[in-house]
């Protein structure tokens, strides 16, 4: 076996047993890796309507064939399970597919230890951690680690096991307390944040996975592989966008984001925040706080940040990150210019083991609801929420992680907060499928907007990374845009860059972008090189490396098809619980209220256009008009086993529509 480690580890925590399974070539060919393996397991080993905290819910850690090799940007792990966070319009207890992708070093060491995927099921009686040493697996007592924060847990485990090469993925107090948006953090501060995979881990009483591996990964065709890897590396070394990403980190997106007014501000009620780029901009940030860059495995760019406070109130405080999304959701989203406090909050959230996006969303929702009088001091136990109040925010973040007082309610995720409190708070929750929006206003960048709604893990840009709609990305990759848009290319360029807020060309772009992003997840590489800074071009940057590393002679089309299969099986996971077109939309706010500030003041989504875009999108995917995968499509993608499930899901869907009189 080349490229892949070739094995899957299955752990049953209830029984305290484990099993190692060889992966067959046909299986590898069909699912490729990482997100592919995970989505396959999450679909086939669960059933429609399974609760996320059910012990049978498989928590999967998967990496791809390129992870841990000399291929650049190859350090990504995907963590998947049925998500406690996401839900359908049929009810907040109807969960669907959830996954999250993290960098760091865990992926590489999983492979060196001999595993492409780790699947964890069951529930341990007492807190345990998993110690994987070169294929030997032990379930060990973790009562001494329970309650510790992420950094402390990682440090103690490394000291206990006595090897700095031990890599740890763990949860913090938030995961232990089943905060629905808890995250898994590896290598001290590389977090897999979204969809609450940390809570699933916590529900299994699994505090951490410690891993060590000494086996080298072999490459099918080393000389040609090295040559190809160098080619891609040199492209990245010279790419101006990569150089900028290295200098400024993901914070470089603030400038552009604020100019077009798409950064979340005040609970994503508007996208523009005056003076944001001067306060939060990448260079300003780096000059003041950047201690040193932090690189994921085998990445020449190293966009990761490490914060260190030289002076001021927090002198001496240091933490990994923050990334742009964390800053934006704990900063502009709660309307503050206090970057010091925002950085400290980002560090705090990471250490407590929570998703910074959903945590910021919980704060900003409380603030807006409080301002509108929908939330009072009686509900919150005396806490007064005010826009930009970072001091209270810090307190509340701790309360969420430990589920104290009002924090216990917020820890359920915004949609459940709204459900519990009623009073029309749900109108203020920017979400799709129960997962809160990231920091991009869905009324402006329509590709992103459509992507949120269609995403297979709830509102998130990292499933439909349609960056090509933005001026900078499109201009630097003109030929690619032409190729992707095909017959729509004139339409795309006609109104450029105003096409940003039109839907006409977006269904096609989103369909392509989904698969584009998926290829990166499958091979275990970073999507940014083919997405936001895009220096490496598109998914085809990874395919020659994939072939040379594994020796599998798969043509490009077959790999792209595999990506489509993965997107479809994730969608099937939603379809079978009756989630279709009704879920593929935004909350009423974005259809009714126009943007209040910034260059795109006055924009809102048109309902008619949206309905058209939905149908177009389904058409490009080969799905039916209600957003359900057709039997023909399932057969074409060689996943006919989903057909009966989807039929059942469709019935649920129509029953629901009938009940509601739609």
């Amino acid at each position: 076996m080349h490229g892949w480690a070739g094995k899957r580890l299955r752990v049953d925590l209830t029984e305290g047993k484990y099993e190692i399974e060889e992966l067959k070539p046909e299986y590898l060919r069909k699912w490729i890796g990482g997100r592919g393996f995970n989505s396959e397991v999450v679909y086939h080993e669960t059933f429609a309507g399974m609760d996320a905290f059910d012990p049978r819910n498989p928590l999967c850690f998967g990496t791809g064939p390129l992870a841990g090799t000399f291929a650049p940007l190859s350090g990504r792990t995907t963590v998947s399970a049925i998500s406690p966070m996401t839900c359908s319009y049929r009810g907040t207890d109807v969960h669907g597919h959830g996954d999250t992708n993290m960098g760091g070093q865990f992926a590489a060491y999983m492979k060196y230890a001999g595993f492409d995927q780790i699947v964890i099921k069951g529930r341990a009686e007492k807190p345990v951690y998993l110690w994987i040493d070169d294929g030997k697996v032990e379930i060990r007592d973790a009562s001494h680690l329970w309650g510790l924060k992420v950094k402390e847990t990682t440090k103690r485990l490394i000291n206990e096991l006595g090897d700095p090469d031990v890599k740890v993925a763990c949860i913090g107090p938030a995961g232990e307390n089943l905060v629905r948006f808890a995250c898994v953090v590896n290598t001290f501060s590389s977090a897999g944040g979204r969809t609450g995979m940390g809570a699933v881990m916590g529900s299994k009483n699994l505090k951490a996975i410690a891993i060590r591996g000494t086996k080298a990964l072999t490459i099918a065709n080393p000389d040609a592989f090295a040559k190809e890897a160098w080619k891609l590396r040199e492209i990245i070394h010279k790419s101006p966008s990569a150089i900028r990403r290295r200098e400024e980190g993901t914070h470089d997106l603030f400038d552009a984001g604020n100019i077009i007014g798409i950064n979340a501000h005040k609970n994503v009620s508007t996208g523009y925040m005056p003076g944001l780029e001067e306060t939060y901009g990448g260079l300003q940030w780096a000059a003041k706080y950047l201690f040193r860059r932090k690189g994921c495995w085998s990445c020449p760019v190293c966009c990761g940040r490490y914060t260190y406070f030289k002076e001021g109130k927090y002198a001496g405080f240091h933490c990994g990150g923050p990334e742009m999304e964390s800053v934006c959701n704990l900063g502009p989203r709660i309307d503050t210019y206090n970057v010091d406090d925002v950085n400290v909050m980002c560090g705090m959230v990471n250490d407590l083991g929570m998703d910074s996006i959903s945590a910021g969303a919980a704060l900003s929702l409380s603030m807006e609801a409080f301002e509108k009088g929908l939330l009072t001091k009686e509900d919150t136990g005396g806490i007064e929420f005010k826009w930009g109040d970072t001091e209270t925010s810090m307190k509340v973040l701790e309360m969420i992680a430990y589920r104290q007082g009002f924090g216990d309610i917020l820890a359920e995720g915004n949609i459940r907060v709204a459900e519990k409190l009623g009073r029309g708070i749900d109108k203020l929750v920017p979400h799709c499928r129960g997962l809160e929006h990231i920091s991009v206003d869905p009324r402006i960048a329509m590709g992103f907007s459509l992507g949120y709604a269609m995403s297979t893990r709830g509102s998130d840009h990292l499933k439909n990374y349609s960056c090509l709609e933005f001026q900078g990305c499109a201009m630097s990759r003109k030929a690619l845009v032409d190729e992707v848009m095909g017959e729509l290319k004139d339409e795309f360029w006609k109104d450029f860059p105003k096409e940003l807020y039109t839907l006409t060309t977006k269904p096609k772009l989103v369909t392509w972008s989904e698969k584009n992003k998926c290829v990166a997840d499958l091979v275990g590489c970073c999507c940014q090189a083919i997405g936001s800074w895009g220096g490496a071009g598109d998914w085809r940057a990874y395919t020659p490396l994939f072939r040379l590393a594994t020796g599998f002679d798969m043509p490009d089309e077959e790999i792209f098809k595999a990506a489509e299969r993965v997107v479809n099986i994730e969608r099937a996971n939603w379809n079978r619980v009756g989630s279709g077109r009704q879920d593929d939309t935004h909350i009423d706010r974005y259809f009714d209220e126009p943007v209040v500030d910034g260059p795109y003041k006055g924009l809102k989504i048109d309902r008619k256009e949206w309905a058209w875009a939905q149908e177009e999108y389904y058409r490009y995917h080969g799905w039916d008009n209600d957003g359900f995968i057709t039997p023909e499509k399932a057969r074409e993608l060689d996943i006919p086993e989903i057909i009966p499930d989807i039929e059942k899901g469709k019935q649920l869907y129509f029953e629901y529509l009938k009940k509601k009189g739609l």
Binding site: F70, A108, F188, I243, C302, G320
Partner: protein
């Protein structure tokens, strides 16, 4: 006499971001497979403070490893690198203990020690090429080493001595004086 045009690998740990690209490049070049244990350069990580120190053979002028090797297996190559003659090496690891950096590493295949050979035949060693963007590793002639390393510290002192109010450009501490 030292050859001032002989190139050496110079390390600036301050720029290292701990991505391990150098290790991947080294193991790829020399073994055709990937693992840090097959690499002759190793990053020593102190993750909790985000500090990374790349350690590799410095090819010392007075190489202790050559002196302590009981088999005389450590020798200086034509390009200045100090390497192990694996036919003579018995794998006693004395060179590792004696090295002030602990730089020699054990070849997982043979159990004998190995050190950097500066990628004989390549213009630039692969680890240095892999670090192009970060610049923590540089491959420069010996006569440049102290000039640039020292200028980095001199820059901070310079503020006190330069004409008051005179403006200058941001320093770019790089070995390429283009």
């Amino acid at each position: 006499m030292a050859d001032l045009y002989e190139k050496v690998i110079v390390i600036d740990p301050d720029k290292c971001a701990g991505c391990h690209s150098c290790e991947m490049a080294c193991s790829m070049k020399n073994f055709g497979k990937n693992h840090p244990y097959y690499s002759r350069i190793r990053i020593q990580e102190f993750r909790e403070v985000n500090t990374f120190i790349p350690v590799t053979c410095q090819a010392c002028e007075e190489a202790v490893c050559m002196k302590v090797c009981p088999m005389g297996a450590r020798y200086r190559d034509a390009n200045g690198a100090v390497v192990t003659n694996e036919d003579a090496c018995i794998g006693c690891r004395a060179c590792i203990y004696a090295c002030p950096f602990g730089a020699p590493v054990i070849n997982p295949d043979t159990g004998k020690t190995m050190t950097c050979n500066k990628c004989v035949g390549e213009e630039t060693p692969w680890c240095v090429r892999a670090c192009t963007m970060q610049g923590a590793l540089q491959y420069v002639p010996k006569h440049m080493v102290s000039k640039v390393t020292s200028r980095k510290f001199a820059w901070e002192l310079k503020e006190e001595y330069k004409p008051k109010g005179a403006k200058d450009e941001e320093p770019k501490f790089s070995f390429s004086f283009a």
